[in-house]
């Protein structure tokens, strides 16, 4: 894979993770039982969608075929999205949603930090912007994670269940493929091995604070980065793309 192709694939994948997670969070808008969390969730979703727009706009320019952010979001099929399987999992209950966010964001924050040192200026700029936002998210979401884990017997048990069931989707984040390797070699990109070590340490301490047990080593699901998704993504994309598919080019 040449350098240009790897950069395009890498940037559009960053956009996919941000968009799909943002869209999942949008499903919860107006569904939270409490105003503060309602606002937190909506604001965080907006950050992710804003990040997706910046990554997709750049991907469109790199590709050079006149596609813009909306084409990437609304006119690609399920197998063209390269987001992690973790991201596309249904929201479940509040503990599931929070657990998914802390597992992903503690990875994403490390990744963004590393990206601010890569050699592509535009990626550096977007990552520097996004890093600040994710730091704020993670602070808020970690508080909830600890509160739920170290809360009542009921909340402890349920959030331990969330950790146990989502754990199998975490391995994929650290498994480098050709795109990651070329990006690391040619653009001074993130070293996923080091990121994994740092992530593991952060997650261990977060689990300890939350009085939760670290899951045993287990089989890890993968395929999202190659476009082989769980059954959940298709339904979500169908809803997200409905308007553009039904009324192509609709604008307001």
């Amino acid at each position: 894979m040449n350098q240009d192709k790897a950069l395009l694939a890498y940037v559009s994948r960053l956009g996919d993770n941000a968009l799909i997670l943002g869209q999942r969070m949008v499903e919860l808008v107006a569904a939270y039982p409490e105003l503060e969390e309602e606002l937190a969730n909506a604001n965080f979703a907006l950050d992710f969608i804003g990040q997706a727009r910046m990554f997709y706009s750049y991907a469109g320019e790199l590709e050079g075929q006149g596609r813009g952010e909306d084409d990437f979001a609304f006119l690609r099929d399920e197998n063209e999205f390269r987001n992690f399987l973790l991201i596309e999992q249904p929201n479940g209950h509040f503990g599931d949603a929070i657990t998914k966010l802390v597992l992903f964001e503690s990875f994403y924050l490390l990744l963004l930090e590393a990206l601010t040192h890569c050699s592509d200026e535009r990626v550096v700029a977007i990552a520097a912007r996004a890093e600040k936002e994710i730091r704020y998210h993670l602070r808020h979401n970690t508080h909830w994670f600890v509160r739920l884990g170290d809360g009542t017997d009921e909340s402890h048990e349920r959030v331990q269940g969330s950790v146990d069931s989502l754990w199998q989707f975490t391995g994929e984040m650290f498994a480098p493929d050709e795109v990651d390797n070329v990006f690391e070699a040619e653009f001074n990109g993130p070293d996923l091995f080091n990121i994994r070590k740092a992530w593991q340490a952060n997650v261990e301490s977060m689990l300890a604070d939350a009085t939760l047990a670290m899951p045993e080593d287990t089989w890890m699901a993968s395929g999202g980065k190659q476009g082989r998704h769980s059954e959940h993504l298709g339904y979500m994309i169908a809803e997200m793309q409905y308007l553009q598919r039904t009324h192509p080019g609709a604008n307001w």
């Binding site: 105003l35 503060e36 606002l39 937190a40 604001n43 979703a45 907006l46 950050d47 992710f48 969608i49 804003g50 990040q51 727009r53 910046m54 200026e121 535009r122 550096v124 700029a125 977007i126 520097a128 912007r129 996004a130 600040k132 936002e133 730091r135 704020y136 993670l138 602070r139 808020h140």
Partner: protein, 163 residues
Amino acid sequence: MVALQISSEQVFDWLSEVPDPEIPVLTIADLGILRGVVIKDEIIVELTPTYSGCPATEVIEQSVIDALHEQGVENVRVKRVLSPPWTTDWISAAGREKLKEYGIAPPAEGASKRELLQGKRSIACPRCDSLNTAVVSEFGSTACKASYKCGDCLEPFEYFKCI
């Protein structure tokens, strides 16, 4: 030819009057998002967005174009400059004063990673300056604000988050 007759300082001055759509007491210059004006074949206005998903970004860009059209300047392009990323430290001293008068506590200076992760600092009430205040919600009416209440004058207020 119009472009040749006006200076970038003049354009910057005109644009300094453009209000922020969400906090209209502040101008885009107070907020620190108006980064520069470059005059070439066209007039390029450099803006730095606040938050990635800030819904005001497009509105601000349109206001900039409209403001220059009103001055008879047609050949305008807005360029989004992402780097370095915007920080609340760029809000001017005048901007901080206006925020306070408007009833929004200005952001603490010295946005750092530590601040974002821990965020423990006393915020003065914009009405009575008391430090006896408490967070009601980390989130407010827009992505950039948190909600507080004052323990002395008992008024609720918004705090412009430090980022």
